[in-house]
């Protein structure tokens, strides 16, 4: 009869996770107990305060380097850096989600159960206040992401994946306008997400089998065991490689890498724009956080074996994203393909197995998150009577109508195109430099070539905005309220500051760039 031992848990180190999940539960109670009029304010304040508190805890435990809760969670430099990044970007996304000045009642549907396109639906679109359940859902998702980047075994990672994915599926379905598109997007995301999760889970099983039979160690899926097994396991390496491939597929799906990217354009287009921004910034951080940990901690010694395959995936991803972006006619789909191409660049960083590579990838995630949130913030502003005007032809001549916002958007697009003095330049530099040093010149060449292709669609939008005459169908740009303005200005300023003086954040990333095993 073996005695059951409770694992020791360092509650201070995991407090950001506890705060977010606790707040999410509290948010559910708020839905039940607080009068409808107050819910929006209470929920938004609660969510923002929680993010702030969690961020404070992350900052306070900046020097923590431990593995806690048995082998389940690793609180180390990369975890803390990425948790901080997720929380900052999530705060910006919450500002966008909470805005009710751009669209009366907010970007979310007032009653999700009403049949789309019915008379009731049209009435609710006219400005009844949106659902406030989005806040607990968002906080749950943030909490899941915080676990995801800290997970130190594959099962915890899987559970975290589901914890942050399920709320996202729901959030995608809650757009106030074009509800059929939104529901379709959510359905697709859910089905394909479940499909990808199955791959991941199958991979976990195979890896578990692979770790069995090492003398002096019991089988397990924590990263230390896997790391040891890569060198010593008597089991067939087929198990290892098949398992590694399946795990990679599950994670690459979330990261939107080709050929597992197919859901991205449809979901980005259909989801409410603030949620799209949240996914583009925070999900990306979480997915790459997990990829980095799995491949640089658990499988570090199989480096030579996975690099060619993941490298090919990276090149394919860059190509697909860049080439398909060229013919897009919808700004949200364009940004989706740009996000796919960026996933390719980030994979290059994952494959640069040095401290600089890790730091560069983390820097890239933060810089890209700020820019992409600012881009989607602008998308929410360009609207006509039917909501957002996302078709590119409608953006022609926007520079004449609203030079200020067109200039901000131009700046963000230039950042995406990697023009110097924007974060887009410094972050590409931070990834390609270490990759080159790590002997991955082919990936860097592919990266530079595809970013040249990718500059074309960006510049096409710029040219359309500034050099076309505004037509009758050119929509106006709403003057945003405080929340969206704040998010937009934070994003633009961060893009500028990280382009001009990136050294402090790079130093921070470099200081944090070491995993504990």
């Amino acid at each position: 009869m073996t005695e059951l031992k409770l694992p020791s848990i360092d509650y201070a180190a995991i407090s950001p996770i506890l705060i977010m999940l606790g707040t999410a539960l509290l948010g559910v109670l708020v839905e039940a107990l607080v009068p409808r009029r107050w819910r929006h304010v209470v929920q938004l304040t609660l969510a923002l305060l929680a993010v702030l508190a969690a961020l404070t805890m992350v900052v306070l435990s900046a020097d923590e380097r431990i593995i806690t809760a048995g082998q389940a969670l690793a609180i180390d430099g990369p975890t803390l850096f990425l948790q901080g990044a997720i929380l900052v970007l999530a705060a910006m996304a919450l500002l966008l989600i909470g805005d009710r000045s751009v669209e009366r009642g907010g970007a979310f549907v007032a009653q999700a159960a009403v049949t789309a396109e019915s008379a009731d639906d049209r009435r609710q679109a006219e400005g009844r206040n949106g659902l406030t359940e989005v806040y607990p859902l968002t906080t749950f998702a943030i909490g899941g992401m915080l676990i995801f980047v800290a997970a130190n075994d594959l099962l915890t990672m899987f559970i975290a994946l589901e914890v942050f994915s399920l709320p996202l599926y729901l959030l995608c379905a809650l757009a106030r306008r074009r509800r059929l598109l939104s529901q379709e997007a959510a359905m697709k995301y859910f089905l394909l997400g479940a499909y990808a999760s199955a791959f991941f889970l199958f991979g976990v099983a195979l890896i578990y089998g692979f770790t069995a039979g090492i003398p002096g160690r019991s089988a397990g899926v924590d990263f230390a065991t896997i790391h040891a097994a890569v060198g010593e396991s008597p089991a067939s390496p087929v198990l290892l490689f098949a398992g590694m491939a399946l795990l990679a597929i599950g994670l690459l799906f979330k990261a939107a890498a080709a050929p597992f990217h197919v859901w991205t354009p449809d979901v980005y287009q259909g989801a409410p724009t603030p949620v799209t921004g949240f996914m583009a910034a925070c999900t990306k951080v979480a997915a790459f956080g997990a990829l980095l940990r799995v491949f640089q901690v658990a499988f570090a010694d199989a480096n030579w074996d996975f690099t060619p395959v993941l490298g090919a995936v990276a090149v394919l991803t860059m190509l697909v994203g860049a080439v398909l972006a060229v013919t897009q006619t919808d700004i949200k789909r364009l940004l989706a393909y740009s996000s796919i191409a960026n996933a390719g660049y980030l994979l290059v960083g994952v494959l640069a197995p040095s401290r600089d590579g890790l730091a560069g990838t983390m820097f890239y995630l933060v810089a890209y998150g700020f820019s992409v949130l600012a881009a989607f913030a602008v998308v929410t502003l360009v609207r006509d009577d039917d909501g957002e005007a996302t078709h590119l032809s409608r953006w022609a001549g926007l520079g004449r109508r609203s030079p200020f916002f067109a200039a901000l958007f131009t700046f963000i697009l230039l950042a995406f195109a990697g023009i110097p003095l924007t974060s887009g330049f410094t972050s590409k530099f931070a990834i390609f430099g270490p990759a080159l040093e790590g002997g991955q010149a082919w990936l860097v060449i592919a990266g530079v070539l595809t970013s040249m292709i990718l500059a074309f669609p960006y510049l096409r939008v710029v040219v359309m905005m500034w050099l076309s005459e505004p037509g009758e169908s050119t929509p106006t740009v709403m003057v945003p309220g405080g929340l969206t303005s704040a998010a937009l200005m934070i994003g633009v300023l961060a893009t500028l500051v990280l382009g001009v003086a990136p050294a402090p954040l790079l130093d921070l990333a470099a200081g944090a760039a070491e995993f504990v095993r």
Binding site: I249, L324, V326, P420, L506
Partner: protein, 641 residues
């Protein structure tokens, strides 16, 4: 190049060198942000900012003179620091930078003053001064940076300001086209510069001037050659040198003060600055120097020949700029002490060319924006100050004793004759021929504009002299055209040799002709050229184009360089663009031609795979999964073996 290059840290007053860039930049930002609220006083803010920068520059200059090693470095912050790569956001103030700062702010201040009046009837005057200050800030950053990345930022900044100003009058299609042309041709050069900087990163791991110059000795000859050629390509693009010269004359579509400051006195000399600054690289490879000299000699002749056939006053001056910068390239290419001579010519040229451009602006101001010199004539009676000041500029550019061009150009001709082998005759001869041609076409311009019978269009009755605010800068610049040459030629070379590696070991070869003979010869060709032009054009000229021989027709058509550009770059480019747009609009991929079109076509095809059906997405994910699995297992097969 055995001695190592080292810069001291800036202290005391010189710690404020960054203000030189910051002041114009802040004033540009204020003018752009305040918008119409600043319309009433904005132009004076612009002028004051440049004036302040000039005063500061002057005081820094005197500070620098008092220092022992004549150069200070100011590190502001780490711009990029990833691993071994370190790029400083830092400034370097040394004799070379100092003379450029004084030229940019000094001449810039006078031209700003002139522009207050010149642009007074233009609704966009505030916007104009905002761009103008932006330009000055970028140009100062270009010459003050302490590494190639800083230089590149300034380089792109002046480029941006230049396009904005060329196409300032956006309502004119020709101005917009000229802006585009300048943009495209500069891109070619900029790409060269950028790749050059990448090569520095790759081979030396740094872009700091001192570290690059100290490391050049360790590089192979081929690397230095490639690096130098790329830098030269950048320099040729910015400075309108062969084969990238065609954009500069078209850039005259911008307002005249822009032509004077950007496209004559300062920005277009950035290429000369780049080569002079990088002289340890260029001195390290004699093939490289030969290429630079050849580009300079060829361009100076092209500029002269085309300049002699043009009738637009600003375009003649533009081609003369191309030609004079050719002299400067010749100088920097010769290396050794000739580096300093080229910089002296650059400074002198800054004065007399700005003087003549502003004079041309003054003429246009009085003649209802007429630019055709066949439609001028006899203006000396009506515009006394413009006439006299222009005359000073004219005498200076043709190199007449004792005007500044004589002291700055003639030493370059002498230096060209000092080469070791038969190339002395080639390059010396070209420089001498250029001097004669310059005298010819500049005299033609001067005589047709100010002398001879009046050939005005009917609507002009009584041309008027320009107001004081325009003539005072003219007078000051004319004084510079007269006197600066002597002062510059006697003091600046010594001062400049204090710049790291500049000048120094001057391989003294006996010239193939004695110094006196060359001086006499160059004065002789000048007098001949000028005399011939005076004789031919003293009685005016026909007001319509005349049938002409092969050479003149070729020169009128820019020696067919535009035609070549059109055939080699423009036609295929237009074709590609059209094909892409066609694909883009119709989604038809029948016309897959060229790389860009292939991308568009591929994009269109791939797009069809995005059907919107979950079942096909799931299938593609499954297919991808199988591929990834197969790839991993293939790798594993290799692992077992």
């Amino acid at each position: 190049m055995e001695e190592t290059v080292e810069y001291a840290q800036a202290t005391g007053l010189l710690g404020g060198v960054w203000l030189l860039v910051a002041i114009p930049l802040v004033s540009a930002a204020i003018l752009l942000l305040l918008g119409r609220r600043a319309d009433r006083w904005g132009h004076w803010l612009g002028v004051a900012a440049i004036g302040a920068a000039f005063v500061l520059g002057l005081s820094f200059f005197f500070q620098l003179r008092g220092l022992e090693n004549k150069s200070v470095e100011l590190s502001l912050w780490d711009f990029i620091a990833v691993g071994d790569l370190r790029v400083d956001f830092g400034l370097l103030f040394d004799p070379l930078a100092a003379v450029f700062v004084l030229l940019i702010t000094g001449v810039g201040f006078l031209i700003h003053l002139y522009a207050v009046e010149y642009m007074s009837h233009d609704a966009g005057r505030r916007r104009f001064f905002a761009y103008f200050n932006l330009f000055v800030a970028a140009m100062l950053l270009l010459v003050l940076g302490n590494n190639y990345v800083m230089l590149y930022f300034g380089w792109e900044g002046v480029g941006l300001a230049s396009y904005l100003l060329i196409s300032f009058w956006t309502e004119r299609p020709s101005a917009a086209t000229a802006g585009k042309k300048a943009f495209l041709m500069n891109r070619v050069g900029d790409a060269g510069l950028a790749i050059g900087i990448f090569i520095m990163f790759a081979t030396l791991g740094t872009t700091q001037y001192d570290e690059v110059f100290n490391g050049v000795g360790a590089l192979t000859g081929t690397t230095v050659l490639v690096l130098g050629l790329l830098l030269l390509l950048g320099a040729a693009g910015k400075s309108g040198q062969f084969p990238l010269q065609a954009w500069l004359p078209d850039a005259m579509e911008g307002p005249t003060p822009v032509s004077a400051l950007i496209h004559a006195a300062t920005m277009v000399t950035a290429g000369v600055y780049l080569i002079a600054r990088s002289n340890p690289i260029f001195s390290a490879n004699s093939t490289l120097q030969l290429v630079v000299v050849s580009v300079g000699a060829l361009t100076l002749l092209i500029g002269c020949i085309i300049g002699a056939a043009k009738d637009d006053i600003k375009r003649v001056l533009a081609w003369s700029t191309v030609s004079q910068i050719g002299y400067m390239f010749l100088g920097v290419g010769l290396g050794g002490a000739a580096y300093a001579l080229a910089i002296v010519h650059l400074l002198a040229h800054g004065f007399f060319k700005a003087n003549m451009f502003l004079g041309a602006g003054s003429v246009m101001h009085g003649m209802k924006d007429q630019v055709d010199i066949r439609r001028f004539g006899g203006l000396s009676k009506y515009m006394k100050i413009t006439w006299l000041t222009f005359m000073m500029g004219w005498l200076a550019i043709i190199g007449m004793f004792p005007f500044s061009g004589f002291f700055s150009k003639e030493p370059i001709i002498v230096a060209a004759f000092e080469r070791e082998d038969w190339t002395a005759w080639l390059f010396g001869g070209a420089a001498l021929l250029g001097a004669g041609l310059t005298a010819f076409y500049m005299t033609r311009l001067f005589v047709l504009t100010f002398h001879g019978p009046q050939r005005w269009t009917e609507d002009i009755e009584h041309p008027h002299e320009s107001p004081k605010l325009m003539t005072i800068p003219l007078i000051l610049l004319a004084v510079g055209s007269v006197g600066a040459g002597f002062l510059l030629a006697t003091s600046v070379p010594d001062w400049l040799t204090e710049t790291a590696g500049l000048g120094g070991e001057h391989a003294e070869h006996a010239a193939v002709l004695s110094h006196t003979v060359i001086t006499i010869l160059s004065l002789l060709v000048t007098v001949l050229g000028a005399g011939l032009a005076w004789f031919l054009f003293r009685a005016g000229t026909a007001t319509a184009p005349q049938p002409a021989g092969v050479l003149v027709t070729a020169a009128r058509r820019n020696l067919y360089t535009d035609t070549v550009n059109e055939a080699v770059f423009e036609k295929p480019g237009i074709f590609l663009t059209r094909a892409l747009v066609y694909l883009d609009n119709r989604g038809i991929d029948g016309l897959v031609n060229g790389l860009a079109a292939a991308v568009g076509g591929g994009s269109g095809r791939l797009r069809r795979m995005q059907t919107g059906f979950v079942r096909s997405y799931a299938t593609s994910i499954l297919a991808g999964a199988l591929l990834v699995m197969a790839a991993f297992l293939a790798v594993q097969a290799g692992w077992l073996a």
